[in-house]
């Protein structure tokens, strides 16, 4: 719950993800690369939640920004002398913001299925460009040898992924802080208004289209940063960051966790990526089957995702 009637103070439960991440760092050092991947996808899912969960913009093309960010960091690290990770992040953020602004300004005049198809088309076009422009992107082989310097010239990326994990965690923390401020702000309340009743928002004098373009651009920026993190952590970027598949993956993660509730974007990627990691080891050929089954169960029996289910269980317990 956000808006004019909400209490904006941080509740103690909101610190749990950060405590869990800290515990993860110390207790499971051999899984830090999986951990960093989870943190990156949380940031990606969080950016999607801003537009889908709060503003109600339906999209299958969010990977366009994730992928552009990933390739921006990759191209800088592989082809230029710009190896400073923060400079790469800034460049990825800027380009993703530009793409978000340019495409958002065109496609946000449409709605529903048209909008869905246009978002998908944009990421498909980028995928094809990345596929064909081999000199820049490495094409289907991917772009290896991405050089990433030390953070602030001081913290080198180590072999165990400790720096990478903390770097992602800190970036995610900043992203979460910004998103939370936006959600509880008048702008966030206004976005909820657009999602709830666009006609009414027009009638109270809101220039709805520009408001949507703005949040779309902010979300694109965050997705671009998440993509750049992925490249930096792996020191590699491949075609799998673009197109329908990563868009679908992040959407499934968000639905699993719960759409429009901020922490759904935290729970979803944790469950999805751990299940993927486990299933891929046990059943290398059939792991998508397990993800599919999980999604069906959640959509059929736990509307509002895992967080929605938790809410209902808590309210049941309280009634007793």
């Amino acid at each position: 719950m956000s808006g004019y009637s909400a209490d904006p103070r941080i509740r103690w439960t909101e610190w749990l993800p950060w405590v869990a991440a800290g515990a993860f760092f110390f207790l499971l050092p051999e899984y830090l690369s999986l951990g960093a991947r989870i943190l990156i996808f949380i940031l990606f899912a969080l950016s999607l939640d801003l537009i889908l969960g709060y503003a109600g913009i339906i999209t299958l093309g969010h990977s366009a920004f994730f992928g552009l960010g990933a390739y921006t960091a990759g191209a800088l690290g592989a082809h230029t002398a710009i190896t400073d990770p923060l400079a790469q992040l800034a460049a990825a953020a800027a380009l993703s913001a530009l793409l978000g602004l340019a495409t958002g300004a065109v496609i946000l005049r449409t709605r529903a299925l048209t909008l869905l198809m246009l978002t998908l088309a944009i990421t498909a076009i980028l995928l094809e460009i990345a596929n064909k422009w081999t000199g820049m992107t490495g094409g289907a082989d991917g772009l290896a040898g991405v050089k990433v310097g030390a953070i602030l010239g001081w913290f080198r990326f180590d072999l165990y992924g400790r720096t990478a994990f903390l770097y992602c965690l800190l970036t995610l923390f900043i992203g979460w802080w910004v998103v939370r401020r936006i959600i509880y702000s008048p702008y966030g309340a206004m976005l909820t208004g657009i999602r709830e009743n666009t006609t009414r928002m027009h009638a109270v004098g809101a220039p709805v289209y520009w408001r949507l373009v703005l949040i779309y651009t902010i979300s694109a920026t965050m997705a671009g940063i998440a993509g750049a993190l992925l490249t930096q952590v792996n020191q590699f970027v491949g075609l799998n960051v673009l197109g329908l598949e990563p868009s679908g993956d992040v959407l499934v993660m968000l639905i699993l966790g719960g759409v429009g509730r901020l922490y759904g974007a935290f729970i979803g990627p944790v469950v999805y990526l751990i299940a993927q990691d486990y299933l891929a080891k046990q059943y290398p050929e059939y792991w998508y089957f397990g993800i599919g089954a999980l999604l069906i169960v959640v959509v059929l029996f736990a509307r509002g995702g895992i967080l929605g289910l938790t809410d209902r269980m808590i309210s049941l317990l309280r009634k007793r």
């Binding site: 808006g3 004019y4 004098g205």
Partner: protein, 249 residues
């Protein structure tokens, strides 16, 4: 003589269907004007064109003597045009306070602030409470719209419109769908509205129309049939034939 809202030769057709034909209409400052007509006369279409939700096929619309025919809805609202909807159109899962506050924030140009929490914008909340209280909804401010009876939801429509501090208010059937006991309460609230607001009301409840309005325009199949005081309209033979006659038959 000045008008706050005026149309000249306003026309609208959907393909072969003509829903507005050369409508010349004037709303005086502080007016209490009713627009009546049988179903399908084009009343809501007319309101939608006035608001800018629908573009006219031809003709012009003037708000405070400025041509706003091509002005988008949001800009018209900022110049003092407010409306309520025939079928309740609210933020259903939000508390009443938020329903009103969202509109006030637009008027105050604070709706794009991204940092300070909405709930710490005390002046916006205070004003929202003020409008809710004026309509007897102060005790329900924390309730969600869905948890309210329909009669009260109709009042929230008016509260949102008041939050825009409109100079001109278009009320599209404010008492539609409520039991007659509740419609009395809605009328009482309408009579309390500030006299400087020019009001155009569309309504099927003739009792309400004749008690509230000081001028009445009758619209039939997109054409203005007659305009006059309630007495003149009540005595008009043509009005009885096409509208009242049918209603009381």
């Amino acid at each position: 003589m000045s008008s706050v809202l005026e149309t000249r030769k306003l026309c609208k057709s959907f393909g072969a269907l003509v829903v507005a034909q050369n409508i010349d209409f004037r709303l005086e400052p502080g007016a209490r004007h009713a627009l009546i007509g049988p179903n399908g006369a084009g009343k809501t279409t007319f309101v939608n064109m006035l608001m800018g939700a629908l573009a006219p096929t031809s003709g012009n619309i003037f708000l405070n003597n400025e041509d706003v025919t091509r002005t988008p809805q949001a800009a018209r609202v900022r110049r003092g045009l407010g409306r309520t909807f025939q079928v309740t159109s609210l933020f259903r899962s939000l508390p009443l306070l938020d329903n009103v506050a969202l509109g006030i924030a637009e008027r105050e140009r604070t709706a794009t602030r991204m940092w300070k929490p909405a709930s710490r914008h005390q002046e916006i909340k205070d004003e929202a409470m003020h409008h809710l209280a004026a309509l007897g909804l102060a005790d329900d401010a924390a309730m969600r719209v869905t948890d309210l009876p329909y009669g009260k939801q109709r009042l929230v429509e008016i509260a949102i419109a008041l939050g825009l501090r409109p100079k001109v208010l278009l009320l599209d059937e404010p008492a539609a769908g409520v039991p007659s006991a509740e419609s009395e309460r809605i009328l009482q609230n309408l009579e309390k509205l500030p006299s400087e607001i020019a009001i155009l009301i569309i309504e099927h409840d003739m009792d309400l129309v004749f008690r509230f309005a000081r001028r009445i325009t009758v619209l039939v199949q997109g054409v203005v049939l007659v305009e006059g005081t309630p007495d003149e309209i009540a005595r008009d033979k043509r009005v009885h034939d096409v509208y009242l006659g049918e209603a009381h038959a």
